[in-house]
Subunit: 368 residues, 2 copies
C-alpha cells in the first residue's frame, strides 16, 4: 500500500479494530469523544453530487450559570487543484473560485459561521519549484484583488466570516507575501495575517518567493469570536501558537500545504497541545502526485479543542468540507481546569528568553 | 474493556492491523521507524525472572565525515510501588531501592549509560491526598540522603549517570521540593533540577507539598552528553522544553506521575514536537488502583527523537525498563534539516513576551 492509497488513519482503525479496543485507542489518540453532527440532507446530497467529503463533529462544553453558551460553527475546506498547472492563469483561478464557491454553498447549508480555505488556495502550491514564473503572477492585492472581492461576496451572501489565504502582492513596494485575508461577515476586509515563519527545508525554501511576515500576532475580533491565522510552517513553532493565544485568540486557524514524507507524523498532533484555544489544522487533499512530483499532499484536516482532544481528520485523498460546532466557553473552562496560563511563569521566561537571544548569553550548564 | 486492562496502544495495533495498514499507521503515528535493539540473553532472562518488561530500540543518525558518531544508551525505568502504603516508611523505601536496584543491574547488562527513574520514585505518588503525614516523611536531602547515597553506589558500580527524582527536604529552611538529583557516572552529585511548573488540577494540587522550582533551566554536562530534567507537569508548557533546549540540552528527561483520565491523550505526543533534542517521557506503571483510588498510572514510557519520530511505549500495566540507543549527532542533523532555531524569530518573541506579561499590555486585536 502506498501512502497515496491510504484513505485515513481513522478509517483504517475503524475498519480493523474490535469495538472495545477501538474505544481505548480513540481515547488515547483523540481524547474526549466528539459528537457527530447531524447535517441537513440537502447539504449531504450536494456534497455527494459535487464529489467531496462532508463530515461534521461537535465539541461539547459545560453549561454555565452566568454566561450563555457561545456555540458557533467553523468550516474547513481542503481541495485539489482544478485545472492543469499549465492552463491560463486566470482560468486556473476562476476554476478554483468556482470549485470553492460550490463548497462554501454547502457550508452555508450547514450553518457555518467562519470558513477557512487552504494555504494560497487559488493556485498550485508551487513554491518548491524555485521558478518565479508563472507562479508569482498568481499574486493579488489583499485589499482589492479579484479573489478578495470574490470572498467579500461570499461573506455577505452567506453571513460568514471568510479566511482567504492567498499569495499577496503589495503593489506599492512590489513585494510578495503569503497572507491570509480576513473578511468579516459584513463583507469588510478586517485585515490580514502574513505567514510568520518561513521554511527552509528540503524542496521548500519558500523565501525564494516571500519572506517572514511583518503582521505580528494579530487577532481579529469577529461577530463569532476572536480568531487568528497561523499559516503552515508556523505550526512547528510553539511560541507562535502561544503568542496568538496571549493576544486573546479563541480559535487559531492553521492552513497548511505540506507533503507526507516531510511532516505527516507531526501533523495529527501539532494543534492538540496546550494553548487554551481551539485550533484548526488543514492541508490540501491531493490524491495525485503534484506536477513536479514533490510528494503527496495529505489533506487530513481536523479541529482540536483546548483540552487536546480532537475530531477525526478528513480524507487524505479527497476534496472535503469539515464542519465543526464548538462552544467557545470551553476555552475558559479548560483554562480554569488546567491553569496553564497561571502556572506558566511567563515573566521569568520573558527574562530568560531576552538573555538567551543576546550574543553574550551564557547557557546554564553544570559540569563536574 | 477498562482502561486498566488495556495493555498498550502499540500492542493493540500490532495484533489487529494487516501488515500494509500497520506500516502506514505506524508511519503517521510514530514517524521514521526505530530499529529493534538486540539485547543480551542474560538481560532478557533476568528481566523475565524479575517480572518486568524489557524493550530496546535504536534511533539511527547519518554518518558524518568530520564528527564520529556519538552513540549512547539511555534507560528508563517504570515501576509500581512494592509494599503497601501503610508499611513502615523505611521498609517502603528500602523495598523500592531493592526493586529498582535489580532493574538497574539489567540496564547495566544492556550497556545503559544514563538511567532515569520515575518521579519521586522512592514513595507512592500521594500528592493528591492532601495529607501531609506520613508523606512528607519520605523527603530526603538531595545531597546526603540515603537514596542519593544508594544512587551514587549504582553510578560508580555500573559507570552510569543516574537521574534520581525524589521528594527533597532542604534541611536549612525545612522546605520540600520535587527534585531530580543528577549523579555523574563517577558517583559525584552533579546538581539538581527542581520541578519547574506545579499543577493545580483535579486531585493534583501539589503546591500543598512543594512550590515552583528555583533551579531554572539547568543543563548537566555528563560524559555521555548534555542532559536536562523537565519534571512531570512541565511537559505541558512548551516554553519549558524550549528553554532547556536553548541552554544546550541534548536529551531532556520527563519523569512523570499522572493518571489516565487526566492526561493520557496528551501523553503520546508531548515529547515529540520541535525542540531539536531527544526527549524521554515516562510515568509509573501501576495496573492496580492507587491507594486512594485516584486513577490508573499508565506507564507507557517512550523516547522521541528530535525529528518527532518516537519508539513504541512500554506497557500501560507492567513494571518495565526501556533501553534506547541514540546517536546524539541526530540533534544537529535535524537542526540543519528543519532550521527551527534559525527560523524561530526568538528576539522578537522575547520582546513580545516581555510586553505581554506587563499589566499595561494591550493585546493586538483588530475590530471592524
Amino acid at each position: 500500500m502506498s501512502a497515496c492509497e491510504f484513505e485515513s488513519l481513522e478509517e483504517c482503525l475503524r475498519s480493523h479494530l474490535p469495538a472495545a479496543e477501538l474505544s481505548e485507542v480513540s481515547r488515547i489518540l483523540y481524547g474526549r469523544e466528539t459528537t457527530k453532527l447531524e447535517l441537513p440532507a440537502c447539504a449531504v446530497d450536494a456534497a455527494s453530487e459535487r464529489d467531496f467529503e462532508l463530515k461534521g463533529y461537535g465539541f461539547e462544553a459545560a453549561l454555565e450559570q452566568l454566561r450563555p453558551a457561545r456555540r458557533i460553527r467553523v468550516g474547513l475546506i481542503q481541495h485539489r487543484i482544478v485545472l492543469p498547472t499549465d492552463a491560463p492563469i486566470l482560468d486556473q483561478i476562476n476554476a478554483m473560485h468556482s470549485r470553492v464557491g460550490e463548497m462554501v454553498e454547502v457550508a452555508a447549508m450547514c450553518g457555518v459561521n467562519i470558513i477557512c480555505f487552504q494555504e494560497t488556495w487559488t493556485m498550485p502550491f508551487a513554491f518548491c519549484t524555485r521558478e518565479k514564473e508563472p507562479w508569482t503572477e498568481f499574486a493579488e492585492s489583499a485589499e482589492e484583488g479579484n479573489t478578495t472581492r470574490f470572498c467579500q461576496e461570499l461573506a455577505k451572501k452567506y453571513n460568514m466570516v471568510v479566511i482567504s489565504p492567498i499569495l499577496e502582492r503589495e503593489e506599492l513596494h512590489n513585494t510578495i507575501w503569503n497572507t491570509a485575508v480576513v473578511i468579516s461577515n459584513s463583507g469588510t476586509v478586517l485585515g490580514k495575517s502574513r505567514k510568520h515563519h518561513i521554511p527552509r527545508i528540503g524542496d521548500f525554501n519558500e523565501s525564494t518567493y516571500y519572506m517572514e511576515g511583518d503582521t505580528g500576532h494579530t487577532v481579529f475580533q469577529t461577530q463569532f469570536g476572536k480568531i487568528a491565522v497561523n499559516i503552515c510552517y508556523g505550526r512547528h513553532h510553539p511560541l507562535n501558537w502561544f503568542m496568538y493565544s496571549m493576544n486573546g485568540a479563541e480559535i487559531i486557524f492553521n492552513p497548511s500545504a505540506t507533503v507526507g514524507a516531510l511532516s505527516e507524523p507531526m501533523w495529527p498532533i501539532e494543534a492538540t497541545l496546550s494553548s487554551e484555544s481551539f485550533k484548526s489544522e488543514f492541508t490540501s487533499g491531493d490524491g495525485k502526485k503534484a506536477h513536479h512530483d514533490f510528494g503527496h499532499f495529505y489533506g487530513s484536516s481536523y479541529v482540536a479543542a483546548p483540552d487536546g482532544s480532537r475530531c477525526p481528520g478528513l480524507s487524505r485523498t479527497r476534496d472535503g468540507l469539515l464542519v465543526v460546532e464548538m462552544d467557545l466557553n470551553l476555552n475558559r473552562q479548560i483554562s480554569d481546569k488546567w491553569s496553564f496560563k497561571m502556572t506558566g511563569r511567563y515573566a521569568e521566561y520573558a527574562e530568560e528568553l531576552t538573555k538567551a537571544v543576546r550574543h553574550d548569553f551564557k547557557p546554564n550548564i553544570v559540569k563536574e
